[in-house]
Homo-oligomer: 153 residues x 2
């Protein structure tokens, strides 16, 4: 299959200018042209853009993604570099998951705390100095939700 820039742009929800930019910096390569100079993308480009999406969500910078494709290009020579890059990335992601999850819990705590305050304000009651910010049910449910999402395999 072949695709126009508009089709790829829509498929990946990315601006046409971004696709031209990716090509300019060498993130997309071998983009064919029609007789009148218009870009023609192939399934290989679809595959590469999926990979780019994945790597971006994984927190990789464009230059890291470029490195990956560079390694992939001469696989035999660079397989160790490639695996080192991927392994490092998976480690970083694990660390970031843990840190983000801590922040997530802090935000739930704040929500819970202000929930108590709001309730008290609405009931025009005296506030306890420190509202009991830890609502176990709320946390438990949130943890279960995230576990389920992480598990959907």
């Amino acid at each position: 299959m072949t695709y126009t820039i508009a089709q790829i742009s829509e498929k990946f929800d990315v601006a046409a200018s971004t696709l031209r930019y990716y090509e300019e910096i060498g993130l997309l390569t071998n983009v064919e042209r029609t007789d009148n100079g218009r870009r023609v993308y192939s399934d290989a480009h679809v595959g590469r853009l999926s990979a780019i999406n994945c790597f971006k969500k994984a927190g990789m910078s464009i230059s890291e993604i470029q490195d990956f494709f560079e390694y992939e290009k001469n696989e035999e020579k660079s397989i160790d570099d490639m695996m080192r890059l991927l392994r490092r990335r998976s480690e970083i992601m694990l660390e970031e998951f843990a840190e983000s999850y801590e922040s997530y819990e802090h935000i739930l705590k704040k929500l819970d705390y202000y929930g108590h305050i709001e309730k008290a304000v609405k009931q025009k009651k005296q506030l306890p100095k420190w509202a009991n910010y830890r609502n176990k049910d709320y946390h438990q449910q949130a943890l279960e939700t995230i576990m389920q999402r992480l598990k959907k395999d």
Copy 2:
């Protein structure tokens, strides 16, 4: 307790220039000065910087963080806005956790796939056209690791 800019800089692993910048844009407020004009930070600033750290890890932009503190300043008036911001953020985080985790799995898959290739190359054996990229043990272990990290409560 009071702290110099160097102490705060070290405590939060943030450049002194960044602390000045945060003050300039109003993210840090009420920073006192010594007689000769040097900044003096208090425990309130330590608390605020912890919150900033948390919000940044939660993926909030500086202007969102500014909004939060603005809401917090006049709590009674803005508690709904504040809770809306926090609730929206927790939702976004959950979505991002799910997306990141998908990418994480893709990266493990790639690692596994190239692991097979590397092994085959080293053994100078014929490669199967598509190596069986799914090593259940590897995935299971990774999932358990992340679950543990997410659970450390």
